[in-house]
Symmetry: C2
Subunit: 151 residues, 2 copies
């Protein structure tokens, strides 16, 4: 397996919404699946969120659905600058990214940058870290990298 | 399993593009996967395409990537009215639908219509048929139904 990520297995699709409770309820009813509880991403001190190279206090409400082959993530961003807020303002509600599990976050981000795909946003979550890469011009969707800590 | 489709396993994500050769090459290089040959959907007589309840001569170039858990479909529509052309004009390039394999297309379309989710477009392909359902208002993405003939 070559390629820039060493993986082409889509593990998640992320969709931006204005009202996560409303859209989450709609998914639950449409697909007959339990409505997951939405939760807020961590604060800056814990998440160490960086957007366009600067620390950002931006947070988002997230809700995850198990859609068989992959997760579907609903994202309701707050008003602070982030890839979520910026994309929502520019494109309106709808899909924002496809995500891939990778290993070696720092090296992957550097490799992608050398290939012309710059880092938009990164942060930490309980048990791992994420990075949104600006692949829109080439792939017409953003790519998110997910690295989970070995247990 | 309840829900309107009887299935919540995403089998495909469809992305609208202006230049399928260019985007297809970008995916191939980014993910290190073979570039699939794009092909044109069937003509009206064979595809029996209907858009908003009327026959449509619209066609699209399609290219399918195997992304592990699901297919990623690139779609370059022609200029004739279709869900593809209309959505591309309104939203720009990017994700258009998530697709689910169903059984009993006619009954599913009727059920969804009664629930307020109207049919946007349908058509036939070699070995099956598809229907795009207008779920955008509720799910922030379109849902495509795929029914494959029993072999």
């Amino acid at each position: 397996m070559s390629g820039l990520l060493g993986n082409h297995f889509i593990t998640q699709i992320g969709i931006l919404v204005n009202d996560i409770e409303k859209t989450s309820k709609a998914y639950s009813e449409f697909f007959g699946v339990p409505q997951p509880e939405a939760f807020l991403t961590d604060t800056l001190d814990k998440a160490q969120t960086e957007y366009n190279g600067e620390p950002s206090v931006a947070r988002a409400k997230l809700a995850f659905f198990d859609m068989g082959s992959l997760q579907l993530e609903l994202i309701e961003p707050d008003e602070h600058p982030s890839t979520w807020r910026n994309y929502l303002n520019e494109h309106g509600e709808g899909p924002h990214h496809i995500a891939f599990v990778i290993e070696g976050m720092k090296e992957k981000i550097e490799l992608l940058d050398r290939k012309g795909f710059s880092l938009q946003q990164k942060g930490e979550y309980e048990g791992g870290r994420y990075a949104y890469i600006d692949t829109f011009k080439d792939l017409k969707v953003l790519v998110e990298l997910l690295e989970n800590d070995k247990k």
